[in-house]
């Protein structure tokens, strides 16, 4: 028992393990804390030096400790040393052991004590702490780390990388098959990035599509940088994957709606010009005609000119009708959509122009296997098919009968209709920007009005679709509609 109360208090406060020496070796005492640190009960251990040296202390530390201990007991020579002691669980614990004079605190005691402070390894503590923050950060930001080791030819993923990619915790990533972790269209990009990083040390920070274990394609920000050894050789690549699918998908949606808005805007602008231009050409003719009528003396000639007004008036009507058609597309788009079978619509269209088809000896090849119906405004689908088919016949190649191929298909969740012909084609270099313009015609046909494709484009776009064209002179033309 401790005789000094102050000392007693201090000892209790710091809750230390200690060994109280006694002139009678059998009466030496180990503190409760010391037993606790080692995990033994008082009954399991004999609190004497022989037992301690024999059973508890690590053999590396035996000699030094024995010398220090005996020296302290006999000659009161203070000491301090590190010592490893066996615990109940069978492991050695590291202690800093010191006599009371060697302690930094000023403890005066009548008795001789050896203190044992367990050393909880500082660095390990730091790592656990960092580990905690790192894990939190990784989970909260969905950012996984990875490392590719060139020497061992292995890649390593942390728990979050595995989670993002949907693999179990014990999954071992394959370096050989690493291309398969990326979406098909992103594999080249990934290969380029890793190659450049491995060979030239170019770090990367990019957005790329990856594939999860259950084949879901999603967007990832991939950041990587080379790892060097002492000889400045690149020995691996270290980096992170962050799941950015939500934001990226939103961004893409935003882009798409921006594109739609931009195209709607340009269509409106285009329309304003069309209105201005088309009406203007009639009114200017009218004004020219009036001038002429006023200027001419001969009454018979005057009457002849007045008849021209009729002509202008009817052209004006046609123009207004065309403009009306365009305006109705945009007011009609709330019209009810219906699930339409492509084949039914096509039959309707081809029946309507059966004469034109048989006269031109046109052959229509149809493939609706992949996608046989669509939810669309029936009148539009009909009008789109009618326009593209009649175009293909009207502008057939002079040397051959028209063959029109109509196919529907699915690609990346989008529905497509493709109509291609073997007609005379359009010179894309000259007319690429004008094909879908109003009153643009590219051929000498008398019945070319230049309104069909303009209407088709407007109909497709009013339902948020897209129409594109590819053509080669003398080969044919292909229109692709993305619904």
């Amino acid at each position: 028992m401790l005789e000094n109360e102050l000392f007693d208090n201090v000892i209790r406060d710091i809750n230390a393990g200690y060994w109280q020496l006694h002139t009678d070796p059998d009466k030496e005492i180990w503190s409760d804390k010391f037993y606790m640190d080692l995990g033994f009960t008082k009954k399991e251990l004999k609190s004497n030096i022989d037992h301690f040296l024999e059973k508890l202390i690590h053999k590396d530390d035996v000699e030094v400790f024995r010398d220090n201990f005996l020296n302290y007991r006999k000659n009161s020579v203070n000491f301090k040393q590190h010592i490893k002691i066996l615990t109940k669980s069978g492991n050695y614990k590291l202690f800093r052991c010191a006599t009371n004079d060697e302690l930094p605190v000023n403890i005066k005691s009548e008795v001789n004590l050896i203190f044992f402070f367990e050393i909880k390894l500082e660095p390990e503590q730091a790592i656990t702490k960092d580990n905690f923050y790192y894990k939190e950060t990784a989970q909260m930001t969905a950012t996984g780390s990875w490392y590719v080791d060139f020497h061992k030819r292995k890649s390593y993923w942390d728990f979050e990388t595995k989670r993002i990619l949907g693999y179990p915790d014990d999954y071992i990533p394959s370096l050989k098959e690493s291309a398969n972790y990326y979406a098909k269209e992103s594999r080249q990009q990934a290969a380029d990035l890793f190659f450049n990083c491995a060979m030239a040390g170019t770090p990367f920070n990019t957005e790329i599509k990856m594939v999860t274990a259950n084949k879901r394609i999603f967007w990832v920000r991939a950041i990587g940088k080379p790892v060097y050894n002492e000889n400045k050789e690149i020995i691996g690549i270290r980096g992170v994957f962050q799941d950015i699918d939500d934001t990226k998908t939103k961004e893409l949606k935003l882009h798409k709606s921006m594109d739609i808005i931009a195209s709607q805007n340009s269509r409106l602008f285009n329309f304003a010009h069309i209105v201005s231009h088309n009406l203007r050409s009639h009114t200017s003719n009218l004004s020219l005609l009036v001038q002429l009528i006023e200027d001419i003396e001969d009454p018979e000639e005057k009457i002849g000119l007045i008849k021209e007004i009729k002509q202008i008036s009817s052209s004006l009507n046609v123009t207004i009708e065309h403009l009306n058609e365009i305006v109705t597309i945009h007011t009609n788009k709330s019209q009810e959509k219906k699930v339409m079978r492509f084949q039914d619509t096509l039959s309707l269209v081809t029946n309507g122009i059966s004469r034109m088809i048989s006269m031109s000896k046109a052959k229509i090849e149809v493939d609706f296997d992949e996608l046989d119906e669509i939810n669309y405004i029936p009148a539009y689908l009909e009008s789109i098919m009618l326009n593209l088919i009649t175009n293909a016949i009207k502008y057939k190649h002079p040397d051959r009968n028209p063959i029109i191929k109509i196919k529907t298909y699915l690609e990346e969740n989008c529905k497509y209709l493709r109509i291609s012909d073997n007609g005379r084609g359009i010179d894309m270099k000259l007319f690429k920007d004008k094909i879908f313009g109003m009153y643009k015609t590219f051929h000498y046909n008398d019945d070319a009005v230049g309104i069909g494709l303009f209407l088709t484009k407007n109909q497709v776009e009013s339902l948020n679709g897209k129409i594109t064209v590819d053509s080669e002179v003398d080969k044919g033309t292909t229109f692709t509609i993305e619904f």
Partner: protein
């Protein structure tokens, strides 16, 4: 009028407009001959033939060019025409006559050397008379 224009040329796809201009020219006796092309391509083909067998009488002294035309529009015609017009060894005055009031078009036209002026439809009879008269003095 000391000298009357021998040959004028209209490149325009609006047959009504062409018809009316023809009538004005006839009524006012503004020139001896008038040729009409429905688009830039037809006109360009004509000039390229002329180039091969230079016949100055077949080269118009004045051209009225529309911008919005099928097959080959006015701009494209101008591009090609500028390339060959010096070889024609005759001064040709070219006016753009368009119903476009788009300032972009007007500016673009002013930037082209071979364009004398940009006329917005409708043109008046006085305008036409002025142009033909101006040409002859």
């Amino acid at each position: 009028m000391s000298h009357k224009i021998g040959l004028a040329c209209i490149i325009d796809d609006d047959s009504m407009y062409v018809n009316l201009i023809k009538k004005i020219i006839e009524a006012k006796n503004l020139c001896n001959n008038l040729m009409v092309f429905q688009n830039g391509k037809d006109a360009l083909d004509y000039f390229e033939v002329i180039l091969n067998n230079l016949d100055k009488k077949s080269i118009p002294e004045i051209i009225f060019l529309d911008l919005n035309m099928p097959v080959m529009d006015g701009w494209e015609f101008l591009e090609n025409f500028t390339r060959i017009k010096n070889k024609l060894e005759k001064t040709i005055t070219l006016y753009i006559v368009s119903s476009s009031i788009n300032p972009v078009d007007v500016e673009k036209a002013k930037g082209i050397n071979s364009v004398k002026d940009y006329l917005v439809k409708p043109v008046t009879i006085e305008d036409l008379e002025g142009i033909f008269l101006n040409q002859t003095t």
